[in-house]
């Protein structure tokens, strides 16, 4: 490649726009922390089987609404021991409420890399290994138990799979539709544009939540849990594409007047090729920001559906249907830990929004120059 130096050698390829943007992004500490938090959450979702001490359907009704287990380092007579959890004895107080008391005499040592419920690692390799756990009949409830004595910690981890994947999947589908429709409408203009945009508006005039409910009602009752999951993803992306399509259409409308599009036509490229290669790539930075900012919408949409009992069905977990346990004041009063999934929804949504906002600032050239002069 090196053919000696000459005066006319063009400069070596400098930083691309993305590299500059990434550099800018990494300067924002909050955004970087958010990115790591999300990475951690997604990793947790992927390795849920291994990280959760119990399977999401492992229940023990003797421990209904058992409070979070304390991991103890001191034995009953005050001596330092290896970490253990005490057996919980169920009693009733004067109001006939369930109260669990620790019985320090029956100890179950905390074990790491222990055998537990069977699962298939990454859906393929059958395994029983769990990151931590205690031997039966002892049970460990890091963040308490739900009504049926299932471990909330495990269920939140399993719920992350549903809640976190639904955003990505939904956005992929709705953005494919939105980019396609918007690109085509703007590029061709005229009657095609008119028809497609009126179609968009038809989707936009119906308040989206009611449309969501109506479409959910159409899904057959005998669907399996997985089918329901995909049905929800499809319904949400079916509703979500219109807004994006309108914006992409506007961009495409102005891009098609650029000379490189005329040049591409003069080179004999087909319309599909021009849209795909010379129109849509120019909308990429907008799309990426928009994707980041709309993922939370899908997570919240699924949560809202599941909270109302219309989404993911028990025993399968999603953060939304875990929260549906927390709809009564009694439950919240006596078992406040069941609000925990809400915290996770909150963290995830905030992280996506912060990252989206930061990306917008980084990809906007005007903002960058402001930052450097400030």
């Amino acid at each position: 490649m090196n053919k000696g130096s000459s005066q006319n050698i063009p400069p070596e390829i400098s930083l691309t726009r993305w590299q500059i943007a990434m550099r800018q992004f990494s300067k924002n500490r909050v955004a970087v922390v958010c990115a790591w938090v999300l990475a951690l959450l997604y990793a947790t979702a992927i390795f849920a089987d291994f990280l959760a001490p119990y399977s999401f359907r492992n229940e023990d009704r003797d421990y209904s609404y058992c409070q979070p287990t304390v991991i103890r380092f001191l034995s009953a007579d005050g001596e330092l021991t290896a970490p253990y959890v005490a057996d919980m004895k169920l009693t009733f107080d004067e109001f006939h409420r369930r109260v669990y008391e620790a019985d320090l005499t029956s100890k179950f040592p905390l074990k790491f890399f222990t055998q537990g419920d069977a699962y298939k690692f990454l859906g393929i390799v059958p395994m029983r290994l769990h990151f931590f756990g205690v031997d039966a009949p002892g049970r460990i409830y890091l963040w308490g138990a739900d009504a049926r004595g299932r471990d909330l910690f495990s269920r939140i981890i399993y719920g992350a799979r549903t809640s976190l994947s639904i955003g990505i999947l939904g956005v992929l589908i709705s953005f494919s539709i939105g980019l396609f429709i918007g690109g085509v409408a703007g590029y061709f203009g005229g009657r095609i544009d008119n028809i497609l945009m009126r179609l968009c508006e038809m989707f936009m005039i119906v308040p989206s939540f009611y449309l969501l409910l109506a479409l959910r009602a159409v899904v057959p009752e005998n669907f399996t849990s997985l089918q329901v999951y995909f049905a929800i993803v499809l319904i949400m992306s079916f509703i979500g594409w219109a807004g994006l399509a309108r914006i992409i259409r506007g961009m495409s409308l102005s891009l098609r007047e650029r000379e490189f599009v005329l040049s591409a036509k003069a080179m004999g490229l087909s319309d599909g090729m021009i849209i795909l290669r010379h129109i849509l790539p120019h909308t990429l930075s907008y799309s990426i920001i928009s994707i980041m900012l709309s993922i939370p919408g899908y997570i919240l949409g699924e949560s809202a559906l599941s909270l109302l009992g219309l989404g993911i069905q028990d025993p399968y977990a999603s953060w939304g249907n875990l929260l549906s346990d927390a709809m009564g004041i009694v439950q919240i009063q006596f078992a406040p830990w069941i609000l925990m999934p809400g915290l996770f929804i909150f963290i995830t949504v905030v992280c996506f929004n912060v990252i989206g906002d930061t990306l917008r600032d980084c990809l906007d050239p005007l903002f960058k120059s402001e930052m450097s002069t400030a």
């Binding site: 490649m1 050698i9 063009p10 490189f260 003069a266 080179m267 004999g268 087909s270 290669r277």
Partner: protein, 261 residues
């Protein structure tokens, strides 16, 4: 007539306005025979670029051909289906634009954009296309083609970009290249080099050219025939030597004087 590649017969182009239609080109006739360079000269706004776009059927929506024929190897391009016309663009008739910075898509490296033309019009594999792109860049006398192929349009100098544009235009070996003011944004030394390149390409590849220009110096150097347009009307045409030596029309004389001053 036999070796006529492109024959424009009585071509008129109009633009739609609120108050009716306005003529942009009126009854233009000329021919480009194979292995020749025809220059279309005239002041700005005389319809030279419109002519080029009309041949490729890429006129803006507001304009349309109202009369006449564009015969390409005996076939009227204006009657072809859109798909058949698209196959001819780039493969048989290519166009070089005035400002390559705008004519290249800023978000892709130039090598990629040249390869795109090959992908559209040839059956080459991806690896063969890459190879061909480097050959093309070498053909237009670009040094370090491997590096230039990976660069984005804004990273190249004006002359380099114009060379890359020419490489893109000749990628699918078209029979005719329409060059719309190919050197007007370049400085004089680069202009001379580009002209030299055109001459070489014509020699080696037998590519005919329709040169759209207001630079009479360039026309004199390159073209065989010249058509002078004024206000969309062809006022004079003939061999370059004759028209430029002994202009018959006062307008031709005027632009001749202007450029020679």
């Amino acid at each position: 007539m036999n070796d006529s590649l492109l024959s424009i017969q009585g071509l008129s182009v109009v633009i739609r306005r609120e108050c009716g239609e306005k003529r942009l080109l009126e009854e233009v006739d000329f021919q480009v025979s194979s292995d020749s360079i025809v220059a279309l000269v005239g002041a700005s706004g005389s319809g030279k670029t419109t002519m080029g776009l009309a041949i490729l059927r890429l006129l803006p929506e507001a304009m349309r051909v109202s009369k006449g024929k564009v015969l390409w190897q005996g076939q009227d391009l204006l009657t072809l289906s859109e798909e058949a016309m698209r196959r001819k663009r780039g493969k048989e008739i290519a166009m070089i634009f005035q400002e390559p910075l705008n004519a290249f898509d800023p978000v892709f490296p130039v090598g990629y954009q040249i390869a795109e033309v090959l992908q559209e019009h040839t059956a080459l594999t991806a690896a063969a296309r890459q190879q061909r792109v480097l050959e093309l860049l070498a053909d237009v006398e670009i040094e370090h083609p491997e590096r230039v192929a990976r660069q984005y349009p804004h990273q190249l100098s004006g002359g380099m970009r114009q060379r890359a544009m020419i490489a893109q235009a000749i990628a699918a070996s078209p029979a005719l290249v329409i060059a719309d003011e190919p050197t007007s944004n370049l400085d004089v030394t680069i202009q001379a080099k580009i002209m030299e390149l055109f001459r070489k390409l014509r020699r080696q590849r037998k590519i005919s050219m329709l040169l759209i220009s207001h630079d009479l110096g360039m026309v004199k150097e390159l073209a065989d025939h010249v058509v002078v347009l004024a206000d969309g009307r062809p006022i004079e045409s003939g061999k370059v030597s004759e028209v430029l030596e002994r202009p018959r029309h006062p307008f031709t004389e005027k632009i001749l004087q202007a450029s020679l001053l």
